[in-house]
Symmetry: C2
Subunit: 150 residues, 2 copies
Amino acid sequence: MADVLASSASAAKQTLEEGGVFSPRFDRDGLIVCVTRDAGSGEVLMLAYMNEQALRLTLETGFVHYWSRSRGRLWRKGDTSGQTQKLLEMRVDCDQDALLLIVEPGGDGGACHTGRRSCFYRRVSGPPGADSLVFVDAAGPAIASDEAAR
Amino acid sequence: MADVLASSASAAKQTLEEGGVFSPRFDRDGLIVCVTRDAGSGEVLMLAYMNEQALRLTLETGFVHYWSRSRGRLWRKGDTSGQTQKLLEMRVDCDQDALLLIVEPGGDGGACHTGRRSCFYRRVSGPPGADSLVFVDAAGPAIASDEAAR
């Protein structure tokens, strides 16, 4: 019986990893994590989450929608800021619990609500235990409002 | 009083986003999500998680350690497969709940346990509702064992 279960689990794993069916695995909160990459520069712009509705709307409209965990609501990227993300390609990882979005940013080309192009604008520096952050993109917030990147 | 609280929250947010102190925010499971990028090709290789110990060991040793959610244990990437990840740079995002790791892959240069370079080897294709997956990297598993990428 253990062999049967192991064999069944192995078949399911094989289908998930080597199959041609898109079966996104949402977590216990109904979310899937997304890495967003600029199609032009190749830069990693941000990391965010989608629920099932955000994923469906993204595929239907061709523009990226996320689920905001802090605000608890669906969010069409760029609605406030103009920093839309046109979806050029969506990829899924081996065990289908993460998405890679390759996008063409609209508006001023930025993605971060602080006004910077990428949310990853600081690098960790210094000896372990005394880590500090160094700004890679030192430009201060170009956009005053917190609403900016929505 | 509400104003005081709002002002305090705003100050904390400002420190988190514009400050020079590394304050990684682990989730309720004690994990932080990591996007890993190949320093050479710029390719997004994988998405995984670190707990506090994995993060500390990564910074101390210069080689990437993750926390495996499925196996419930700390994992030095490449211990089994040789696909180590030498950390060249670590970045943190605006609200410090995600990391970007820029790495030099060791071994055969791959990162995925299926034997492929990147875990994102399939793209979502087809009309919404009838989504299928197309292999971007069609190469079958080069490494037989599931242990391969560990």
